[in-house]
Amino acid sequence: MPEAFVQPEDPSAAAAIAAIGEELDVFDDWMDRYQYIIELGRKLPSFPAEWQNDAHRVPGCQSQVWMEAVVRDGRMLLAGASDAAIVSGLVALLLRVYSGRPPAEVLATDPVFLRDLGLLEALSTNRGNGIAAMARRIRDVAQACTAAA
């Protein structure tokens, strides 16, 4: 099976957030920015079909989001996908920030960056939004790892 988990390309979660901000800043127009985000989603490693089930589903009624997390050598590795193009791009951004980081770094990295970058208006309140729910689940997994350690 090809690797479904996202490998980190930036040295840290904070560096990934900074890099994403710079990349999005290149565009003046939100339509162009979304075109770029959709491209990022298309480049996500393919998410295994056998994981596209309720056990991997993140709740959210507007679009479907799936994710899987494992811990290898003290680092959390994440895979994810969505049936919506922009949401897939946002999944890619989340995974770029969080996948491959130690659980402690995941917990130290507030998902508020999604709001700061103008990508998500209501991070905690909009129950329909699968991305906010995915950010919460990533933190829950990290929490469980640190509690177990």
Partner: protein, 417 residues
């Protein structure tokens, strides 16, 4: 000014003047003029509604039905005045048949509890349709599971119209105690032939309830002409506040039905041994009601009455024709439903584009639409779509806004082809 706008102005309907009454509509969203096409979820509020609510709180506020003092009497008069306005709006025979609820959902739950559990018997059935909002589905499932009452679902045709033959087939065994159907679909915009549905239900001995949440906003509703038994709607879609809804039912039904909730204001006398109930409609209004919201609803009703439903229906009819023409000209776009009689609700899918993506991109251009299954999941399944985007119009919607939507959708389409 084109001919269409000119005709509307001559008939006394000036959409620009109406827009001026809605303070929120002049806002810019992300640097673009707000194009609010989500009125089917909740409509914006005109100045008279806002003023009535603020004025009530500033000048004449107290609890209702309780005090003998000036403030309470003034407030009670204002609150009870809404009952008269609602009775006039839907041509109810009596103001005493108007029960205030929190919203449509509560009104249907009230009927499911007080009529379903109180009057219907196990072995009887309730009929709904395939195009119901969850509010007119889940309460009946709960009744079914608690009381052994069967739930039957009348089919809709591929065009998104109620299948009258299919409906009749569910009624012939005369086990159906209640037919509960939307008067206008919140997904397809289909206007259901209420008079025919009521006649059919009555022919087989069933009562009939209409969910008028959408219909009451767009059409003149006459519960006597329809020959309905129950009619429910909510205030916030009718340019009124949230937190106030309406149940109308025939007096003999309300009198036979047990109360829904117990508490203050709904009683005659109370001892530790037993209580007696107040007269209808107060029997169904336990506790301090939504006083300010009721006052706001009266202002909303007076607002739409002043414009007149002839003008509203004519304006929205033209908008609907324009929207259908523009949307159906977009390659790869599918408008759900094709009912002969439909109002300003347009759900659509676009080839290769998820509804969530469409809504996100439209939002960046200041256009507010809804995405998802619009609280009617079984209907989405019936139509074979996972989710759809929905644009819906109100009295303040302009043809220019429909053009902005269509032009932006053409741009969105380029993203996904």
């Amino acid at each position: 000014m084109n001919m269409m706008t000119k005709n509307l102005v001559e008939s006394g309907f000036d959409v620009q003047r109406i827009r001026d009454d809605f303070p929120i509509l002049s806002q810019q969203i992300r640097g673009k003029p707000l194009v609010f096409l989500d009125s089917a979820a909740s409509a914006q509020k005109p100045r008279p509604v806002i003023d009535a609510m603020v004025n009530a709180m500033e000048t004449q506020y107290a609890n209702v039905h309780r005090g003998l003092h000036w403030m309470s009497e003034r407030t009670t008069d204002a609150y009870e005045g809404t009952r008269d306005a609602v009775a006039r709006l839907i041509n109810a025979p009596s103001r005493d048949e108007i029960v205030f609820t929190k919203n449509t959902t509560e009104a249907i739950n009230l009927v499911a509890y007080s009529y379903g559990r109180g009057i219907m018997r196990p072995g009887q059935a309730v009929v709904i349709s395939e195009m119901e909002h969850h509010a007119n589905l889940v309460p009946w499932q709960m009744l079914r599971d608690a009381c052994g009452i069967e739930l039957r679902v009348a089919p809709v045709t591929d065009a998104g119209e109620l299948d009258m033959v299919g409906l009749e087939a569910l009624l012939v065994d005369r086990k159906v105690g209640l037919v509960a159907i939307t008067h206008m679909s919140n997904v397809l915009g289909t206007v259901v032939p209420a008079v025919r549905v009521a006649a059919l239900a009555h022919e087989y001995g069933a009562k009939v309830l209409f969910d008028g949440s959408q219909a009451v906003v767009h059409r003149a509703v006459d519960v006597q002409a329809i020959d309905a038994d129950f009619y429910v709607f909510t205030g916030h879609k009718l340019y009124g506040p949230t937190g106030i809804g309406v149940l109308w039912a025939r007096r003999e039904l309300l009198e036979a039905m047990p109360p829904f909730m117990g508490g203050g204001d709904m009683i005659g006398t109370v001892t530790f041994e037993r209580s007696t109930w107040a007269e209808v409609p107060h029997k169904f209004e336990a506790g301090t009601p939504a006083i300010i919201e009721a006052i706001g609803l009266k202002a909303a009703i007076e607002y739409v009455e002043a414009i007149g439903f002839d003008a509203i229906t004519a304006h929205e009819g033209r908008l609907t024709d324009h929207a259908l023409a523009r949307l159906s000209a977009i390659p790869g776009l599918r408008v759900l439903g094709a009912a002969q009689d439909r109002g300003g609700v347009f759900s659509f899918t676009m080839q290769g584009a998820h509804a969530h993506d469409i809504a996100t991109l439209l939002d960046r251009q200041g256009i507010a639409v809804r995405a998802g299954n619009h609280c009617a999941e079984p209907l989405s399944r019936r139509l074979g779509v996972d989710s759809s985007a929905r644009a819906s119009t109100g009295i303040y919607t302009t043809e220019a806004e429909i053009d902005v939507l269509a032009d932006t959708l053409l741009r969105v389409r380029e993203f996904f082809t």
